[in-house]
């Protein structure tokens, strides 16, 4: 660094850099600039921009990979909207997101608040909470599948048996399957959010807690009047991110149940996958798959827009 920086201090023009030098460098470096932009243009162009543009086109085409694509207008959208499985998938996805909001959303918040109140070993607990995030999701699902064994000897049912409950048909009953999936998904994802909250909590001035104590606030009072208001902007963002994430839940239903029992865990993304690559239907229905993707994307965009409009004034 000093080898580079040293002589420049001796030479005069370094002080008169700014616009002229930058502009000159820009013109002379024209080819180089293109070389440096090339990887981004190629990779984003091929694997991001082009597929995004293509979605819109494909949703109004019949693409069967054999012959040339045919324009079919809104037929793909009609096919999807007439599919009796669409309301089922929509309902399941909404229920999954709903349970994840009620049960899963508070979990990392509670963990972060508890961890940050610890005097010692805070890092250890944060690390342990984060550990599931690094486990490959496919492995995590396989592990939880053994836990969810419906027989009385299954891991969770054994534990429930100790307190006289169960056995619960975790993945085998239509009413239990979605809560079971939410439980695993919460375990798998909570750690990342815990870290975000912990980072936000480190910036709460200690004086605020001291002042709250002086005013006679207990532990809950301090959490309610100091911690939560401080976290509000972060909480608003993690909430919409979680809603967007849970609306696209795929891995859990795909690996745990394949959408069963009798479509009780069929989600929107699983339906898209079934249209395009599914084994039961034969797949290949790329038109309906992109039409549903597009409707979902527009729906999520509208939802986020409405959410940010609604909550605009709440952040501060």
């Amino acid at each position: 660094m000093s080898r580079v920086g040293g002589p420049a201090l001796v030479r005069g023009p370094a002080r008169r850099r700014t616009s002229v030098a930058v502009l000159a460098r820009w013109w002379r470096g024209g080819a180089a600039t293109l070389v440096f932009l090339l990887p981004m243009l190629l990779v984003f162009g091929l694997f991001s921009w082009w597929p995004i543009a293509r979605t819109v086109v494909m949703s109004v085409q019949d693409t069967n990979l054999v012959g040339p694509a045919e324009w079919v207008g809104l037929d793909n959208f009609r096919t999807v909207l007439a599919d009796p499985l669409l309301p089922v998938a929509l309902r399941n996805t909404a229920v999954f997101a709903g349970i994840a909001f009620v049960v899963g959303y508070p979990v990392p918040l509670v963990m972060a608040v508890v961890f940050s109140s610890l005097r010692r070993l805070r890092g250890l607990y944060a690390g342990l909470a984060y550990l599931p995030v690094v486990v490959p999701p496919a492995v995590a699902v396989l592990l939880w599948k053994t836990f969810y064994d419906a027989s009385p000897d299954g891991v969770f049912n054994t534990v429930l048996g100790w307190v006289g409950l169960g056995p619960v048909p975790w993945l085998e009953s239509a009413s239990w399957v979605l809560p079971s999936l939410v439980m695993e998904a919460t375990w798998a994802a909570a750690g990342g959010t815990v870290i975000i909250y912990l980072a936000a909590l480190t910036s709460v001035p200690q004086e605020l807690y001291d002042a709250a104590s002086a005013d006679g606030a207990g532990v809950l009072g301090k959490i309610w009047h100091v911690t939560l208001p401080h976290l509000r902007p972060v909480l608003l963002i993690t909430l919409i991110l979680q809603i967007i994430g849970t609306a696209q839940v795929f891995l859990e239903p795909y690996l745990f149940t394949g959408g069963g029992p009798s479509h009780a865990s069929l989600t929107l993304l699983l339906l898209i996958y079934e249209y395009a690559f599914g084994s039961t239907t034969g797949g290949g229905a790329y038109g309906p798959a992109t039409a549903l993707s597009l409707m979902m994307a527009v729906g999520l965009a509208l939802l986020s827009w409405a959410y940010f409009r609604l909550t605009r004034g709440w952040s501060d």
Binding site: A21, F36, L37, L65, L131, V135, V139, D153, G192
Partner: protein
């Protein structure tokens, strides 16, 4: 955790599922899983995909960040906006058209389906990486860059000998998350690599699970989770700090 139940014979696992080591750890089950299931070839696949994913992500992020932050071409703002916009497109929207693109690349009509490149190249289109790199380069002291230019360093020299050596911290963040994401990925390699012989271990395990002895399967799961866990323990600080960073950027 998978690591703790990895060494128990099936009978014990079934009889007393809560006990960690009913009969004491039996490490032979790990080697049994390794040879019986042929894990080594799936691990090699995983390593190839993770390495490729790391390479393409670092290449795209550093060059794009450098061009947008330091070289500042005339259309830089537009390009940066186009990169940022992809952050707001849900992954779901991309799945099918991305598959069809990889099946037949535009203009050249090559198919990357069934190739490792098809599995790892799309990972390079990470807007988050580009934003992270550009912001880091933006924060580098301009005096040093200008000094190097005055000393006659061209754009390539400036990139390779000045900017990159100063970027170790952010390169670490991008690298660790790139490798981990590739190791965890399931749905994309599943779609793009139909041949089981080329699939990474995370994709392979669920398909061999039904026909595999439970204790052997648990051992295999422990093996496939071991590397990311060791990785995490090694780079713990990076993870626990950067995740907050990610939240800040998303915000």
């Amino acid at each position: 955790m998978a690591g703790e139940v990895g060494g128990t014979p099936t009978q014990d696992t079934l009889r007393s599922p809560i006990a960690l080591w009913p009969n004491g750890p039996d490490l032979s089950i790990l080697s049994q899983a390794w040879t019986e299931l042929g894990l080594s070839s799936y691990l090699v696949n995983t390593v190839i995909i993770a390495a490729g994913s790391w390479a393409v992500q670092v290449l795209v992020a550093t060059t794009a960040g450098y061009a947008l932050s330091v070289l500042r071409p005339r259309l830089g703002r537009v390009l940066y906006g186009a990169v940022l916009a992809t952050m707001f497109v849900p992954i779901v929207l991309l799945l099918v058209p991305l598959y069809l693109t990889v099946l037949s690349l535009p203009v050249v009509h090559w198919s990357l389906v069934g190739t490792y490149a098809g599995a790892f190249l799309p990972a390079g289109a990470s807007a988050f990486n580009v934003v992270l790199m550009k912001r880091f380069f933006d924060s580098l002291p301009r005096e040093i860059l200008d000094a190097a230019r005055i000393d006659g360093a061209g754009p390539y020299r400036l990139f390779w000998s000045v900017v990159l050596p100063m970027s170790r911290p952010v390169l670490g963040v991008v690298s660790v998350f790139a490798v981990l994401a590739a190791w965890k990925d399931f749905i994309w390699p599943l779609i793009v690599l139909p041949d089981p012989a080329k699939q990474p271990i995370a994709v392979r395990l669920p398909s061999i699970a039904p026909a595999t002895d439970l204790s052997v399967l648990l051992a295999a799961m422990a093996i496939s989770a071991a590397l990311p866990i060791v990785f995490f323990l090694l780079f713990q600080r990076l993870f626990l700090r950067s995740e907050g960073l990610e939240g800040a950027v998303k915000g």
